[in-house]
């Protein structure tokens, strides 16, 4: 029995595009589950690479899925696909190009504070100086340094008389 919502997949992807790529890789594995010579580790390794393969095998074990059972594996992979497809998306504009570590930190922040994984759809706007502009399910907040800076500049220029 698989419990919905317990799967945390931030080790495999943090952004929406990465999630789509993960789904494609998962489909490739699913297609071979019922082959006679199917081997989970080999098949996953060919799709995810060494590091993520270990994490994926651990995930299978953590959820007590017998790797030799094609049917059980197929159900588990389909469940993962459903979870991935239902993840919420937050569009976040960054002042710098976010590296993997920044994206992981943000993803972990969501898991820690919202108790669920949120896919990031990153945008880059160097004019923001620092901070972010977050858009989530129709709501938007500009908490970048740019807004503070613009207000400061406006005050300075307004107080400067025109000669």
């Amino acid at each position: 029995m698989i419990k919905m919502g317990e799967l945390i997949l931030s080790d495999f992807f943090t952004t929406k595009s990465q999630a789509n790529n993960f789904l494609a890789q998962l489909n490739a594995v699913t297609e071979k589950i019922f082959d006679l010579d199917f081997n989970l580790e080999t098949s996953v390794r060919s799709q995810f690479g060494a590091k993520k393969t270990d994490r994926f095998i651990s995930l299978v074990r953590e959820n007590e899925i017998p790797p030799e059972s094609g049917m059980a594996l197929n159900n588990f992979l389909n469940h993962i696909k459903e979870v991935v497809s239902s993840l919420p998306v937050a569009t976040i504009a960054f002042a710098i190009e976010p590296n993997e570590q920044i994206l992981k930190n943000v993803s972990d922040w969501f898991i820690l504070n919202l108790k669920k994984q949120v896919l990031i759809e990153p945008e880059i706007d160097h004019n923001l100086i620092a901070g972010t502009v977050v858009s989530y399910q129709g709501k938007r907040l500009d908490s970048s340094v740019k807004s503070v800076f613009e207000q400061t500049c406006a005050n300075i220029f307004q107080n400067t008389p025109v000669k």
Binding site: A95, I102, N113, N127, A130, K139, F149, K163
Partner: protein, 218 residues
């Protein structure tokens, strides 16, 4: 009996036929004579008619000749008279035309002299008036110019100076705006570059915290 009858009747009949033939012959002779007399009479009449016809033709030809002669004489007379009239008329017309030309020349000379005299007089009057008008206009123009100059100094120049000052101020404002924008852009870029990666990460998390507090994720 029959023979007797026949011997009597046949000669009688023959005699009667003979008598009839003699009678018919006599009648025919008589008619022939009448016809011959009528033919002679007709020949006479024909000869008479022929004679009359020739006589009439001769008379007609004679009359025709007479008429033609008369007509020729008359036409000749008319032509002679016409030539005379035409020559006379031509002379008369020539004389009249010559007279008209002479009269017209005289009238033209007189009219021309008259026009010249009048024109000269008019020109003299006009030049005198024009000079006077010109002096008046010049004087008025000078007055108008002085008036306009005064108005210009009092109103237009003042407004112009005011507009220039406003324009100058507007341009200075626009320049300030552009300069401010440039300064702001440069400062943003400089700040963006000068903030360390660690600080950037911290500000990202701070920003997420602020979004959480503002209820963006509710």
């Amino acid at each position: 009996m029959l023979m007797i009858f026949l011997s009597v009747v046949i000669p009688t009949a023959n005699l009667m036929i003979l008598l009839f033939l003699i009678y018919r012959s006599w009648i025919v002779q008589k008619e022939k004579k009448i016809l011959e007399e009528k033919g002679a009479e007709l020949s006479k009449k024909e000869a008479k008619i022929d004679s009359d016809y020739h006589k009439i033709i001769d008379n007609s030809l004679s009359a025709e000749r007479n008429i033609l002669n008369d007509a020729t004489k008359e036409a000749s007379s008319i032509l002679t008279n016409t030539q005379y009239v035409s020559s006379s008329l031509k002379d008369a017309v020539n004389k009249i035309l010559l007279k008209m030309i002479q009269d017209a020349q005289q009238a033209a000379v007189a009219s021309s002299n008259d026009i010249m005299t009048k024109h000269k007089s008019s020109l003299n009057q006009l030049s005198g008036k024009s000079l006077e008008d010109f002096q008046n206009i010049t004087k008025q123009s000078e007055l108008d110019t002085q008036k306009q100059m005064k108005e210009y100094r009092e109103t237009l120049l003042f407004n112009l100076q005011k507009e220039i000052a406003e324009y100058k101020q507007q341009k200075v404002k626009e320049s300030d705006k552009v300069v401010n924008q440039i300064v702001q852009n440069v400062a943003q870029k400089v700040l963006n570059k000068s903030i360390s990666l660690e600080d950037q990460q911290k500000l990202i998390i701070d920003s997420l915290e602020k979004s959480l507090k503002e209820g963006v994720f509710d």
